[in-house]
Amino acid sequence: MNQIPANDAVVATTNGITRGEVILEATDLVRRFTAKGEGGLFAPKKTLVAVDRVSLALRAGEVVAIVGESGSGKSVLSRLLARIITPSAGTLALRGTPIDLRSRRTTAYANEVQLVLQDPFASINPVRRVGRSLERPLRIHGTPKDQVQARAYEVLESVSLTPPQQYLDRFPHELSGGQLQRVNIARGLSVRPKVLLADEPISMLDVSVRLGVLNLLRELCDAHLLAMMYITHDIASARYIADETAVMYAGQVVERGRGTVVIDAPVHPYTQLLVSSVPDPDQLTHQEHRATTANAVGFNLEGCRFSPRCPHATELCHTSEPPMVELEDGHSAKCWLVADAAQRTAVSMRPGPSSEG
């Protein structure tokens, strides 16, 4: 469980990748879905925006955590990056090369960007031995036949399933959830991808083995300089593992920041609500929960998406969408309160008498 320090004297490079280099970059990704309209069979169709102008960069050796509730669009985002779903708009670039999003996903792309899903019992074929599930992607991605088994051994060892021969001949039901999720991660890593997208990788696992898998992901990220996206609804686990955290609400990133700043000092009212909702026995005494309207569902599509539930919402919030405002060191939030405060600071810092308003 040793982490390689980021400021290692020797600049870590693997396969010509430098730590911190941007591997996968998404700019203004949008995905719309058409849904059944309200009011009968022939009602006009509704458009749902699942992912709304999301930009992010995944860097080698870093973990970006995407935090959000169910329905916030975080899983759709991971599938857009894996190119399982085609974006409605926006661009993707892999190591600086723009990807033609109208074409089909190539094997070469899948080789670089791998997705690990939440439920290992659902994502690994139950009637095949673990070995076969592991070897198949290797064959597809052109590993020479005589090296397939050696590579399967190697990846099982890298996820601490040792000795590997003990696992290759087992069926998924013979393994525990934690072990099977390690197999799932091993399978994702077997083709030596540069990007690993992990969608809720620990939420189906037993509480006592979650940290083990989380530590494993962090180690793999550091050791192989993987650019990792960690999707979760568990804020504490994001705080534990991430180099950067982005909070999603209704398809948009509403707050993001490096390190733990988003969770330790949230500025967006939604992030504040989220953080204060987590059970925290250390702060039982001064627990005060912000009143939001529990029955308010549905998002405001005109202004700020969160405004129907926000305790601080003003007229402006309901009518126009706030910009993403940078506060400091890459900590930014999409909220009018923050935008106003930032503007006021900027105004007061302006030299000389300034004519305001």
Partner: protein, 355 residues
């Protein structure tokens, strides 16, 4: 715990098996506890620890191949004047039907499975109220249903909706309102908020605390989330491989666990504040009930395991003047090994150093 008691549920040496004969697997093993009136008992454990089987077993909702193979379960009904003690394990189906909803009700994790998808919410309420109170008029039933929805912060128009038209949180609120409809003495909730978002979970837990103060029912709340229990429960019972390994008042348990498994469980949740440091969780995998290790079931994963742990299973015994109970050899007076400082009483540790 204390002798002067007013219990609502007494469970002793309760066992549940899955299957029979040589293939039988013991899912709940020798569970004994008493739940006081209007108290909240939290049951914590991982999947396979037997916590849900316990809930199904106690309420006689267990389905084959689950079999209750031993023990006693008594429910105390009514108040002083017409109080009676009912043997739940000996009760007939008809007797059980009469007490379900009215004296004991259950809220399960998935409200979507608990509600009939082709029936409006109002109809479900109507049926519960009608079955247990024939004399109640239709309009009175409707008023009561509205009132109950109000208790859980739902608007009365939800009565005209189908389950699929409600969000997960709203459905779980409906289930809670129905569980409280006939003011039972005991409500059992099995992971009621696990499928919900944290914000919704927070709202429901807050409502639950308020309702409990108003209505005074006893609650058994089952979850894997220890931190949630610390907020909600009076006492917490930790289960591992079908057994109770530790029981203590909620805050005491949180501040100082005595069983290595409880300590490991608490170390499995990354904190929300403070310095980020590498944590380890609990090594190994949860036990396979078909093939439990000999001695204490936790010993293969326990950093403090001694030889005795591999040979003999520790009994759940009171420690610290009966304030709490724990099943661990480390705390057995006959064992000479010193209790590790992290599993020791804090003031006792100080006293030990001074002396």
């Amino acid at each position: 715990m204390t002798t002067s008691s007013n219990p609502v549920l007494e469970v002793s040496h309760f066992n549940v098996d899955y299957g029979v004969g040589a293939a039988a697997v013991r899912a709940v093993d020798n569970v004994t506890f008493t739940l006081e009136r209007a108290h909240v008992l939290g049951v914590a454990g991982e999947s396979g620890s037997g916590k849900s089987t316990l809930a199904y077993g106690l309420t006689r909702l267990l389905r084959a191949p689950g079999i209750i193979t031993g023990g006693d379960v008594h429910l105390h009904l009514g108040t002083d004047a017409d109080a009676r003690r009912m043997d739940l394990l000996a009760a007939s189906e008809a007797e059980l039907r009469a007490i379900r909803w009215k004296h004991i009700s259950v809220v399960m994790q998935s409200a979507l499975n608990a509600l009939n998808p082709v029936r409006k919410i109002g109809k479900e309420f109507d049926e519960v109220l009608k079955t247990h109170n024939r004399s109640m008029s239709k309009s009175a039933r409707k008023d009561r249903a509205r009132e109950l929805l109000g208790l859980v912060n739902l608007t009365p128009d939800r009565l005209e909706r189908y389950p699929h038209e409600l969000s997960g949180g709203q459905r779980q609120r409906v289930m809670i309102a129905m569980a409280l409809a006939l003011q039972p003495e005991l409500v059992i909730m099995d992971e009621p908020t696990t499928a919900l978002d944290v914000v919704t979970q927070r709202e429901i837990v807050a409502e639950l605390q308020k309702l409990r103060q108003e209505l005074g029912f006893a609650l058994i709340f089952i979850t894997h989330d220890l931190s949630l229990l610390v907020e909600l429960a009076d006492e917490i019972m930790v289960m591992y491989a079908g057994r109770i390994v530790e029981r203590a008042p909620a805050l005491e348990l949180y501040r100082g666990p005595r069983h290595p498994y409880t300590l490991g469980l608490m170390g499995s949740f990354p904190p929300l504040h403070g310095e980020r440091k590498v944590m380890t969780g609990i090594p190994g995998s949860p036990p396979n009930l078909k093939d439990l290790p000999g001695g204490c079931a936790f010993h293969p994963r326990c950093p403090y395991a001694m030889e005795r742990c591999t040979l003999e299973d520790p009994m759940l015994s009171p420690i610290e003047d009966g304030q709490r109970t724990v099943a661990c050899w480390l705390h057995d007076p006959s064992v000479s090994a010193a209790v590790p400082v992290e599993l020791r009483r804090k003031d006792a540790a100080l006293a030990g150093e001074a002396g």
